[in-house]
């Protein structure tokens, strides 16, 4: 009898725990996505409703005016293209140099491996703002201020450690036997890398590509330092300036913010499992 009530009580308590746990999760998920939802709401209501006090919680008078204005804005269109070029090229360069270096670090033996990894790690701790003045002077002398090159070069340096770090973690998980077999069959180091490692590592490389792309897409400091020409500015620089371009057009700013964030959110929703494994790979093993 006594034991029966005890288990019932226990079951009751664990059911309550379960409910509390899910309430906690719902609050947590809601808080994470609330700003995006709210700013989306701000972007699709009429001006009158945007300025209504108290604010409406669900949109009542829907208007597509802000979206139409932003999407039709040539500066914003150009900025989206610029962001894609900068992030895309940075990702390709990082993957190219990064995968070669990461392969050597994860597979080959050499004396200064520890030093190399420390140097690479040091960059992730490096306050980027400390070098913007020297770089600005050097880039001016090279004549690449206001060009994609200035930002792509700098982004590459700061994304490369992340790329290498992630790829090393992924490469280490791949079976060594296969490469040894390839080498026994007469393949060179480069061939072993290209024919055996690359196909096997594709998922890890893909994850690394996503993370590198997100880093470069989100970068702001270098773009804001080296690009003062609207023709090359990415969205991260253009959107905060929307406030001054359209003086107080908050609706347009809201729409623009949502437009640049949505692709990232979709990327995250599709690849969440991979991204989490990538983000934690370096941290746990490192």
């Amino acid at each position: 009898m006594a034991s029966a009530t005890a288990t019932e009580k226990g079951a009751g308590r664990s059911a309550l725990n379960m409910v509390l746990f899910y309430v906690f999760l719902v609050i947590f998920v809601f808080m994470s996505v609330f700003p995006l939802l709210w700013v989306f709401k701000m972007s699709i209501v009429t001006k009158t409703e945007l300025y209504a006090t108290p604010p409406t919680f669900l949109p009542q008078n829907i208007s597509g005016a802000e979206w139409a204005q932003v999407l039709g804005d040539s500066t914003f269109q150009k900025a989206l293209i610029n962001s894609s070029i900068i992030a895309g090229v940075t990702t390709v360069i990082c993957l190219f140099f990064g995968s070669i270096a990461a392969y050597a670090i994860s597979r080959l033996r050499f004396r200064f491996k520890g030093t190399v990894m420390t140097l690479i790690l040091a960059i992730s701790f490096f306050p980027a703002v400390a070098i913007i003045a020297p770089l600005f002077i050097q880039y001016t002398q090279l004549g690449i201020i206001d060009t994609y090159a200035s930002v792509i070069i700098t982004d590459t340096v700061f994304a490369l450690p992340l790329t290498i770090w992630l790829l090393v973690a992924f490469f280490r998980e791949l079976p060594v036997d296969l490469e040894d077999a390839a080498r026994v069959d007469g393949a060179t180091t480069i061939q072993a890398f290209r024919k055996v490692i690359v196909p096997l590592a594709a998922p890890g490389v893909f994850t690394t590509a996503i993370l590198t792309f997100i880093y470069a897409w989100n970068e702001f400091l270098f773009a804001n330092t080296f690009l003062f020409d609207e023709n090359t500015q990415p969205v991260t620089v253009v959107i905060p300036n929307f406030a001054t371009i359209y003086t107080v057009d908050y609706g347009a700013q809201a729409a623009a913010s949502v437009i640049v964030t949505v692709p990232l959110v979709i990327l995250v929703l599709i690849f969440q499992r991979r991204i989490v494994s990538g983000l934690t790979a370096g941290a746990v093993k490192g």
């Binding site: 746990f21 906690f24 999760l25 808080m31 994470s32 700003p35 709210w38 700013v39 701000m42 300025y51 006090t53 108290p54 604010p55 140099f97 070669i100 270096a101 050597a104 080959l108 033996r109 050499f110 004396r111 520890g114 190399v116 140097l119 690479i120 960059i123 701790f125 490096f126 306050p127 980027a128 703002v129 400390a130 913007i132 003045a133 020297p134 770089l135 600005f136 002077i137 050097q138 989100n218 702001f220 400091l221 804001n224 330092t225 969205v235 991260t236 905060p240 700013q253 913010s257 990232l264 959110v265 995250v268 929703l269 969440q272 991204i275 983000l279 934690t280 941290a283 746990v284 490192g286």
Partner: protein, 304 residues
Amino acid sequence: MTTASTEKKGRGWFKEEFGNPERRAAYYMVLPSLLIIMVVAFFPILYGIVLSLTDSTVTAFGSFVGLENYTEMFQDPDFRVGLFNTVIFTVASVTLEFVIGLAIALAVNRAFRGRGLVRAAILVPWAFPTVISAVMWRLMFQPGIGIFQYLAETIGLVSGPVLSDPALLLIAATLIDVWKTTPFMALLLLAGLQVIPGEVYEAARVDGANVWQRFFRITLPLLKGAILVAVLFRTLDAYRVYDLFWAFGARELQSLSTYVYEGVRISQLQFGPGNAAAVFIFVTAFLIALFFIKVLGMQTSAEE
């Protein structure tokens, strides 16, 4: 794999390293990345140190002036405000993120339905460009249209616009950072938790350890490595805060980084102190990292 390079003691490591084709290949493969990093990151920091000791301008290299720029920097009220804000922001945001992040990590460290959804929700704030999330939050604090400004006024938390009060601006910026980065902190700590084998807890439970004993005697010590890595990363990240302050505060909120930016990129008259501040950030960030590694005993070896 153990090739001809076996025990040629004292014969010079150089010959040994580069005489072996596999090792030579390794150096060729690492070299391009290292060169890029050295040329674009380490060389400029040396150049930056030199600049900070001269009266150079953006366009002309000046003459040696000793520590004059540093003296000027420390006397500049803007720098002091920036330093104060940065330190408060770093300590407050990292502390909150760590405590809340650990609580979340402990809560979700189990199998449950909807894991994927929670994981995705965790990543949403992280994936936002910092500067865009700052713009979004600024919209939500804007007087007249901002939901948070409205709520804060309605419940009597503030009497005026948050965006025009420096102290409230700093508090709001800290909370925004907590919103954006706590999930990421939770993710890193959760990964650390999942490495701890369940048997350890079973054993402790059998021995009669209660929840708190298990937390302080098992979880925290075993999680130390993951905690130090996560906290150091976040500390250095918060310490160089720029995007958030710049966009959320609309240039009204000073940090060390915005001070450097103003100096070297906006007001050309401040170029000298701006460079001094750049070196200051570099050196202090280095000391913070050193503190974590030497004093707190963080593991840095990426090897094995």
